[in-house]
Amino acid sequence: MPETLSSQELRGASKGKTTRLSFGQAIHAATRQAMELDPKVFLYGIGVDNAAGIFGSTKGLVDLFGRERVFDTPLSEQALTALAAGAANAGLRPLLAHQRIDFMLLTMDQIVNWISLWRFKSAGKAHMPLTIRAIVGKGWGQGPQHAKSLHTWFAHVPGLQVVMPGSPYDAKGLLLASIFSNDPTIFIEGRSLYSMEEEVPDEPYFIELGKAATRRPGDDVTIVTFGSMIPTVLQAADTLAKASISAEVIDLRCLMPLDMNSVLNSVEKTGRLIVVEPGWRHFGAAAEIIAGVAEVHGMRLKAAPQRITWPHSHVPTSAPLEAAFYPTVNDVVQACRAAVTGQ
């Protein structure tokens, strides 16, 4: 059984050298450093050891760590997920990578019937320190079977952590936290973010799971978002600023644990709430956030909260239909403007 350290004991500040990395390179850096730090970490999944290396995120790691710790697999998503569960229960820290999250639907028995409840039914004695990386496709015709985002499916189940980074800096810190967390984590990556860049510290660092980040401070309206919608929302906040509307952007970073306090504190200040979710509308994360805010601030909101989400439709393949499907900067701008000005 792993030793544990309560998250409250974690302190420190990242200093030192930084390098401009893409989102995919930040995932790579986190994986490499986790494997250097701890021989119990191993990486596997379909294609992790080939020259493409999951869009570059695992490229070359097999040369550094060998085939015992970085290995390709049969197309057996169920057995691979069960392997993570059995190995994690025995004290290893598996990192399983899926090139598309859609493949995880094959593994729901392992995730829901075994992994999520393993610690619970051991009366808190067992641990399941595994991380499953899953990429949500977007663009170039990914279509109905390669572009779903299933984050709410996992966030609904007790015992799972669901992490959705929106920038390279967060991707590295959150992946290191996920790998070294003693609880099972579904780590969901937006493919559309992969080439985006940011200065990232060279040393390993840690972003505590379940802590939202305020990406823009503001007073007029709170925009809550996460994952692949972060760039869209930041661009919308810039546009709104030019129109003298001050939007506060809260990046949840994790759906579970959910940092509702950061959302509530922001809405306390602004009185207005727009939630932008990279996923389907009904029974989604946006609905959950609005419900949580309504329970506390419901009678005091200055405008009706709004959801900006994918429509209740499967993802189309052709370019014009993709363009019509995904929410845009303008959608966010219009919703915020309406909330603030009443028009």
Binding site: E3, G12, N89, P168, D170
Partner: protein
């Protein structure tokens, strides 16, 4: 001295004691279940199928892992689990193996490395992960994955057999073919009525044995496990056996009409307990020695029930905290921690390419 390690009488005494303990604890549970209704969880008894767990109990080591299906009581005891912790689990008490949170179907106990579950193929797949960790860590520990003929029809089973063979994992796949998945006969579920032919093409070692002969099973499984322990890769062993009790619960379920009285009567004559008892007498045990074993088992059972009935339940406010730990490996205390992301969102989305 069948295995060159232990005198026959001592070995047979261990096999008999475990077999008898499994049998008598099942019978005591069946008797106590109704009308008291203090054990409020579905329970699957293993009457008639005790030979395999009894044999394994004399072979496997504390550091080995055993993962089984929900008909698990025999295997829990075989892996060194305490009878008192098992009975208390069925009563739902905090002194149970899982503090009353798993019941009979998911009975598990980390310290003895025994696990079981109700969604059958999942446990079989996890056993692959346990064996992977044993190989990864460079130990000579092994994993035993116990499965029934029913769960052999789930897809993950074939994925796991392939992966384990590919990776040469130290795992014994032990399949109890008792002819029925709940109330469904194997002839109604597949055109092949034995499992080895379905599995052999993966390229792992396979064998078939009489599942009701504890001494034969001991010798065969001991050899199979020794081969695995020496790095020989996985093996699949099918044992032919039969459940002489109902599928679930204490009542006999033959009213459903899923099997014939003749078939049941035939298998009752193949009960492993009298076979083992006769073998032990043959090996030199006296009537007094047998009575000592039997009465110590009875005392153990009575004490386990008494303790379980007296124990407390957990409270839900404590139980809900078990869902997640919120904790990290201490390695993170060596990290620099959170600065602030200064991400510029005005960047083009990733243009996708085939790779």
């Amino acid at each position: 001295m069948p295995d060159g390690r232990e005198p026959t009488k001592a070995l047979y005494t261990r096999l008999y004691r475990t077999l008898r303990l499994i049998r008598r604890s099942q019978e005591a549970l069946i008797e106590a279940y109704h009308p008291a209704d203090e054990m409020r969880c579905p329970m699957h008894f293993c009457l008639g199928q005790e030979a395999a767990p009894a044999a394994l109990s004399a072979i496997i080591r504390p550091n080995d892992t055993l993962m089984s299906h929900y008909r698990s009581h025999g295997y829990f005891l075989a892996k060194g689990g305490s009878l008192a912790a098992m009975i208390a689990e069925f009563y739902g008490k905090r002194t149970g193996a899982n503090s009353g949170l798993a019941g009979s179907m998911e009975l598990s106990y980390g310290p003895t490395r025994f696990y079981s579950g109700a969604i059958l193929g999942g446990m079989f797949g996890m056993a692959g992960g346990a064996a992977f960790s044993q190989k990864y860590n460079g130990t000579d520990d092994i994993t035993v994955a116990v499965i029934g003929d029913g769960a052999m029809e789930e897809g993950i089973v074939f994925e796991t057999l392939n992966l384990a063979t590919l990776k040469k994992l130290p795992i014994l796949f032990l399949c109890e073919n008792n002819l029925y998945a709940a109330y469904s006969r194997i002839e109604d579920r597949s055109t092949s009525h034995t499992l080895v032919p379905r599995v052999a093409p993966f390229g792992l070692a396979t064998d078939t044995f009489d599942g009701n002969d504890p001494i034969l099973l001991y010798r065969s499984l001991d050899a199979a496990i020794e081969r695995i322990r020496r790095g020989g890769g996985p093996a699949f062993v099918e044992i032919m056996t039969y459940r002489i009790c109902g599928h679930v619960g204490p009542e006999d379920d033959d009213v459903i009409g899923y099997r014939t009285p003749e078939e049941l009567a035939k298998w009752r004559t193949r009960d492993p307990l009298p076979v083992m008892r006769a073998a032990l007498i043959q090996a030199g045990a006296s009537t007094a020695e047998l009575e000592d074993i039997d009465s110590s088992i009875e005392r153990e059972i009575i004490a386990a029930f008494d303790a379980a009935k007296k124990a407390e339940f957990l409270v839900f406010e404590d139980v809900r905290k078990f869902n997640s730990s919120g904790s990290y490996d201490p390695v993170v205390s060596r990290f620099g921690a959170t600065g602030v992301s200064t991400f510029d969102g005005a960047q083009a989305e990733t243009k996708l390419a085939p790779y």
